[in-house]
Amino acid sequence: MGSIWEYANPKKFIATVDRVLPFVAGLAVLSLVVGLIWGFFFTPEDYRQGSTVKIIYLHVPSALMAINAWMMMLVASLVWLIRRHHVSALAARAAAPVGAVMTVIALLTGAIWGQPMWGTWWAWDPRLTSFLILFLFYLGYIALWAAIENDDTAADLTSVLCIVGSVFAVLSRYAVNFWNQGLHQGASLSLDKEENVADVFYHPLLVCIAGFILLFIALVLLRTRTEIRARRTRALLARERMT
């Protein structure tokens, strides 16, 4: 095993993805099936929330991945700007729609849970609002990728947008905190806190989170591979037209 930069070679990257993807995808499906079935059917109902508590198994992992996807895009953008590896730029591009869908899942499941629990589909709560803003950032990022014809310019511009957007996303997160009081409960999970959700809910939740992470990795690998192949096809077609 050499350094991680070997995978900047698209050929090597595709060969590795071909080998790894079935395992990652299989594990993702396995842990999602186990986690969701365990969570939905083999955990007790919460004494106050009833069965609605079980939406946590979709809501928390998708919210987590919505933020992590953006972080991954930020890292990939920095790698592109600093070392100019095309695979990195394409991975950032591939992750954006997945992250956007995760954001939508988190918002929708939150609304479905909020209706019986808070008595409203939507409240201008800081967490909800910052997720909506995050969603707008995803949309802008995807739209910018789609609008520019030159691939390298598009990668450059979206990378800068991702970096500037990250700063503003964090800023908005604290700005909305200031602007409205929260209805949303605090973090359900953290590593350094005694008060997590009860263990019966906690273990299946961890499995679900692992499932969402694996699902995200599998989708990003798959989409990156598709992007590389699409670009290669375009190059081949262009070459054919030349001769």
Binding site: I133, L136, F137, L139, G140, A143, L144, A147, I148, T153, D156, L157, V160, L161, I163, V164, G165, F168, A169, L171, S172, A175, V176, F178, W179
Partner: protein
Amino acid sequence: MIALFLRDIRLAVRAGGGFGLGLAFFLIVIVLVPFAVGPETALLARIAPGILWVGALLACLLSLDRIFALDREDGSLDLIATSPLPLEGVCAMKALSHWVTTGLPLVIAAPVLGLLMSLPSEGYLWLVVSLALGTPALSVIGTFGAALTVGIKRGGLLLSLLVLPLYVPTLIFGAEVARAGATGLAVETQLVLLAAVTCVTMALLPFASAAVLRMNLR
């Protein structure tokens, strides 16, 4: 750089520059709101600071694509970029001239429109202060957005999609100052945060705009 600034102002003020377009748009938004929500004075007074801020923000947004697009079309942007001026300075000047031709008129017109919205009398001072502090940030962020989309034909809609989420912190703090001022509450915290947002964006974003412009002109 000063020559560039004066040139931009002159271009904006003379025919076809769209000077006053933002102002007219601001007026239209503020006039339309009472038709939509009803002429009740108490309600208008309550929502006035927020509506005035949203109107100013939209009016700012309207003129953003002019910052670089016209220069790009007639090729003067390439000349400016190859001149010895640092591109960062060019971007800062572009933002400044956009603010002078769009933001400043909005700040001056806001009290008059506040009258139409029956803003309480304590609110005028803080409305003007918050707009005067906040609109420079809108111009600087907008210049970044305009630099991002300069290579795209008819990028106006994309520009608004990119810029609007970036405007959120400025809007929150700005409208918060205006609202607290209108209801006679303390405004210091919000004011300081708004000033912080403006200062940081003014200091850092011209560099991002210049970097993006270089990528676009390559």
